[in-house]
Amino acid sequence: MSHRTESPVGAPAPTGTTPAPPPRRGPGFWTIRRRDQLAGYLFVAPQLAGTIVFVLVPLALVFWYSLHEWNVLSGTFTFTGTDNYRALAEDPKLPGVLRATAFFSIGLVVTNLALALLLAVLLNQKLRGTVLFRTLFFSPVVVSLVAWTIVWGVLLQDNGGINGLLRTAGVHGPNWLRGDVTAMASVIAVQLVKNVGLNMVLFLAALQGVPHDLYEAARLDGAGRWRQFRSVTLPMISPTVLLTSIITVVGSLQVFAQIAVLTQGGPGTSTTVLLYYLYQQAFPFHHFGYGATISVLLFAIVLVLTVVQWQLRRKWVFHEQS
């Protein structure tokens, strides 16, 4: 990942080293360079301290707790070594949870990126009313998540609005939140409609950044619309696709409210994704140590996915700035 961080330093920013401005008067020790050094530390200090206190220390503690058994009610905190990890490996519920997590994440990421791209391409046409549609598609992003989920929860009831509409059309709708497949599909759809506007806007900005002369050149080569899309548009917006896909993948692993409100992980455990399972174990079941062990697993998955996606970038992303 180091090349990402090299850019600021390698960038032309002439601060510090270029002695263009006249040296300011001041105590001999406090040269501009030293003042800048100090300023640099001070500027990043709040964020750095926050990261240490609220990210790194808790992460270390997650590992530490995962080696313990903490009984809330009797107030005991005992070292149990790798017992929690062994329990995790043997947890009969874990395969189902991982499967649900994978279904949810893949389902969400694929549909989200595809729909966002489709909407962005449609809205990038020179048409009247695209601003209105853009506003419509984006509006769920600003709707409170739990409000949105509650509304869908009511709509998806067996006698709720969606089946009511289907019934007027003569279709007998399924009991959405009570079937394994339909429950998962519902949860994905609710999250998809809620947030696809965000990726759509990012794609739209990227599409508008594609230089027109590239299309012209492609047309001169006789490329049709689909060819233009494949060989000009996609490569040019690939950096955006990569970044949004990373954010969407990581975000899909953080989905909690939708599950908690819509299905509580059911029916059975068909929508119990990893984060929801973590919450269940740690809070309702008060197995804090085991919850921490699941956290470690969740962290490992996020880490692996991000690194893999970042590596794919070389093959996949057409151009790299810097």
Partner: protein
């Protein structure tokens, strides 16, 4: 894909122009796709005026036949809803202001100042992108418990402002500051401005679009938090809106749908109105977050 245009017309300004048939298809597709985006909000607002027992009536009423404000009145009597509204609002505002400060400072520091260990420190901060705060909810909970901050709003303010959620903001701000031309600051230096003055008077005013995007992201993130409040807060008057919304039940835990929908409408409408008024700044602000790669 089955475009009839295989011969390229060379009019530069008509590049996106579409033949009529395709145009109509695009409109048709857009309108069908828009239904699930609009219908829930529409249904929520209209149903919030329905009496409790008609929410599930068949055929579904797209317009309340006998409108009532009972749901809205109950929303305020069943819970300290105004207080909860205020909680969510002030927490989101504090977090937004705090994040803007923390992330613009750090973004500037990482983008425009050279100091020893910069790259290493940036990597340390970036770990926040990899470790969602949900992963560390257990230790964070114990940490705040040991500081006696459980059932207070502190965890909901401190963690988003300084922890993992603000790292994305810092990243966005850094990407933005990198693109500022160095000459602007050189001029300031000639005038004898110090580092903070360069940041405050030159870089920050130029970064309004990025700040706007960060503000929107941050506000919505805080406004939507659900796992954290239900873990940390247990007193009704301290609840935030998302948590409160799920708690509109009768005295014995039976859900009161129309009240839930009324309360939900109250949380949604102001933000939605604000968004519609300022949608251009909103969307374009987000589009220029530097997430373009």
């Amino acid at each position: 894909m089955s475009s009839p245009e295989t011969v390229p017309p060379l009019r530069k300004d008509r590049l996106g122009g579409l033949p009529l048939r395709l145009k109509l298809t695009v409109y048709g597709v857009l309108m069908v796709l828009a239904v699930p985006f609009i219908f829930p909000t529409w249904w929520m607002i209209t149903s919030s005026f329905k009496p409790g027992n008609t929410v599930f009536s068949y055929p579904p009423q797209l317009w309340p036949s006998d409108a009532t404000l009972a749901g809205y009145r109950q929303a305020f009597t069943l819970q300290p809803f105004a207080q909860q509204y205020f909680n969510s609002m002030y927490i989101a505002i504090l977090v937004t202001i705090g994040t803007l400060a923390v992330s613009s400072l750090a973004g500037y520091g990482f983008a425009r100042i050279r100091f020893r260990g910069q790259n290493a420190l940036f990597l340390v901060v970036l770990t926040g992108l990899l470790i969602p705060s949900e992963v560390t909810i257990v230790p964070l909970y114990r940490m705040f418990a040991s500081w006696d901050m459980v059932d207070t709003h502190w965890p909901l303010i401190l963690v988003p402002t300084f922890g993992a959620p603000s790292v994305l903001a810092t990243f966005i701000m850094r990407q933005f500051f990198i693109t500022l031309p160095g000459e602007l600051e050189d001029a300031g230096r000639v005038d004898g401005l110090g580092r903070f003055a360069l940041f405050w008077r030159i870089a920050l005013p130029l970064s309004r679009p990025a700040l706007g995007a960060v503000a929107i992201f941050t506000f919505l993130h805080s406004w939507n938090l659900y796992l954290e409040p239900i873990v940390y807060l247990s007193t009704r008057s301290k609840f935030t809106l998302p948590q409160a919304l799920t708690q509109f039940t009768d005295a014995y835990g039976g859900p009161l749908w129309n009240v839930q929908l009324s309360a939900a409408s109250l949380t949604v409408i102001p933000v939605l109105v604000l968004f519609v008024i300022a949608q251009r700044q909103f969307i374009e602000g987000l589009a220029h977050t530097g997430l373009k790669g």
